[in-house]
């Protein structure tokens, strides 16, 4: 029996970049095992975490993601032997850069989830969703995109109203 779905004022949009060999299979296992996890997360399947360019994360935030999850095989389990080792260094550096630019790192989560860890996937996604929900929508990149639609100097009440209703 499904438990009653709780209603929330804010449903965060979470984009998950996952590797096809481990985390995608892990999420699949969670599904086939009928485990419940928030539907806020949208999966994007990649051949390997090594294929996930930091610019994808940036693009996700720009397109309105409130949180981003990157997940792949545990170290040593990579289908392509070393893809996740390279990704680990790249993301360690990218995190530092985003932090310096002023992005709250609580919105960005990295994890290793193997094909057998359906439970870990559910736990992690639930935790991330609740954390991002508590933080509220990601405004930074959205405000930048809005700045392009009218000059910052324009401050008409109807524009303000339209902005606040977004």
């Amino acid at each position: 029996m499904h438990s009653e779905k709780q209603k929330h004022a804010f449903e965060p949009r979470i984009i998950a970049f996952v590797c096809t060999w481990c985390t995608y299979a892990g999420a699949d296992l969670a599904g086939t095992s009928r485990m419940q996890y928030p539907s806020n997360v949208r999966l994007l399947k990649f051949p390997c975490t090594g294929r996930i360019d930091p610019v994808f994360i940036l693009k996700a935030f720009q397109q309105g993601a409130d949180g981003v999850l990157v997940s792949g095989c545990h170290p040593g389990d990579c289908h392509y032997i070393a893809g996740n080792f390279h990704a680990r260094r790249r993301f360690a550096a990218f995190r530092k850069l985003l932090e310096f630019i002023g992005v709250d790192l609580d919105r960005l989560q990295f994890s290793w989830v193997s094909a057998a860890e359906g439970g870990k996937w559910v736990e992690m996604v639930t935790e991330l969703t609740e954390r991002v929900r508590a933080m509220g929508p990601m405004r930074e990149f959205r405000e930048l995109a809005l700045e392009e639609q009218w000059s910052g100097a324009l401050d008409a009440p109807e524009l303000k109203e339209a902005y606040n209703s977004i």
Binding site: H86, R89, A92, L97, E99, F100, G102, L144, E147, E148
Partner: protein, 306 residues
């Protein structure tokens, strides 16, 4: 304000001229990329000479700010395609040259390196005729520890005068920003990036931006918006800093050429600092086959990964 001793520069100029004369007339090199006096008083500009008689045009002065290694990566009409090419480099430029060799963009035996013992160059904001002092020196020179290039084919034998202790602008600014909250940092960078006009001068002048097609110019799929508007500007500067992480030699040319005075090198310095801390890597005079992000160690830190 203290004056910085640049008395060695005349001896350096003489030595560069002599070496250019010798190598060109002996046929050791087919061209030399160096600095020449420009029209404005005290200013300097890059020059490519292919004739031994032109060696008298070469100079070295505090106005010789350019990183000439960029001319070896982006084809320049004046530089002959065949033969060995000589190049005049300061310590910071040599690090870029070494980085390019590590990335197989240049071969050591195809270039003839003339290293310059350097006491510092002028900041981009001051007139080139001004004297080099603790106020007019470039920010990168304040934190430079490599006054004498190493591993060159020729270095003028002069004694570099002891440098006075200078205020470290970059370190201070990075520390200031790090102490702020994420929201304050975002506000700072948002303001800085909003100035950007997307002229791509920073890309054009960077020795490491040698991709034939930049990711940011591609439009199918378009990863970074190409228009000079806030979202695209922010994305461009983040991508730029990320692509230079672990490669940047710290020559600060990006910041020098920026017409809108965006502190671009802060991002690069911050990344260099993080990579040094994480993977003990630093731009140096030693050729490394692989930069920190092109290699890995199984024992790398993964405390940020669940």
């Amino acid at each position: 304000m203290t004056t910085i001793d640049t008395s060695i520069y005349s001896a350096v100029t003489e030595a560069i001229r002599g070496e250019a004369q010798r190598t060109l007339s002996e046929g050791l090199v087919t061209a030399i990329v160096g600095y020449a006096a420009a029209r404005r008083k005290g200013s300097a500009q890059p020059i490519v000479i292919t004739n031994a008689a032109d060696s008298e045009k070469l100079i070295f002065s505090p106005a010789c700010v350019n990183n000439l290694t960029v001319y070896l990566t982006k084809a320049k009409k004046e530089i002959p395609k065949t033969g060995r090419v000589g190049i005049v480099v300061k310590g910071c430029d040599l690090k870029a040259l070494v980085g390019l060799m590590g990335e197989s963009q240049l071969k050591r035996d195809e270039i003839y390196i003339i290293g310059v013992p350097c006491a510092g160059v002028l900041a981009s904001t001051v007139q080139p005729s001004q004297e080099l002092t603790s106020d007019t020196i470039a920010s990168k020179c304040r934190e430079c520890g490599e006054f004498l290039p190493q591993g060159c084919d020729f270095v003028p034998g002069v004694e570099i005068p002891a440098a006075p202790e200078l205020e470290k602008n970059y370190s201070a600014e990075i520390a200031r920003l790090e102490a702020l909250t994420p929201a304050e940092r975002w506000a700072y960078w948002r303001e800085q990036f909003s100035k950007c006009v997307k002229c791509y001068a920073c890309r054009q002048v960077c020795p490491f931006c040698f991709c034939e097609q930049c990711l940011c110019d591609r439009n199918k799929p378009q990863m970074v918006e190409s228009t000079p508007r806030p979202a695209g500007n922010t994305a461009w500067h983040i991508v730029r800093a990320m692509h230079l992480a672990g490669r940047c030699a710290g020559c600060a040319e990006c910041e020098r050429v920026c017409p809108m005075d965006i502190p671009l090198n802060l991002l690069n310095r911050k990344m260099a600092r993080e990579l040094k801390e994480l993977y003990a890597y630093e731009a140096s005079f030693q050729v490394n086959d692989k930069g920190p992000l092109a290699t890995y160690d199984e024992k790398d830190d993964q405390s940020f990964i669940k």
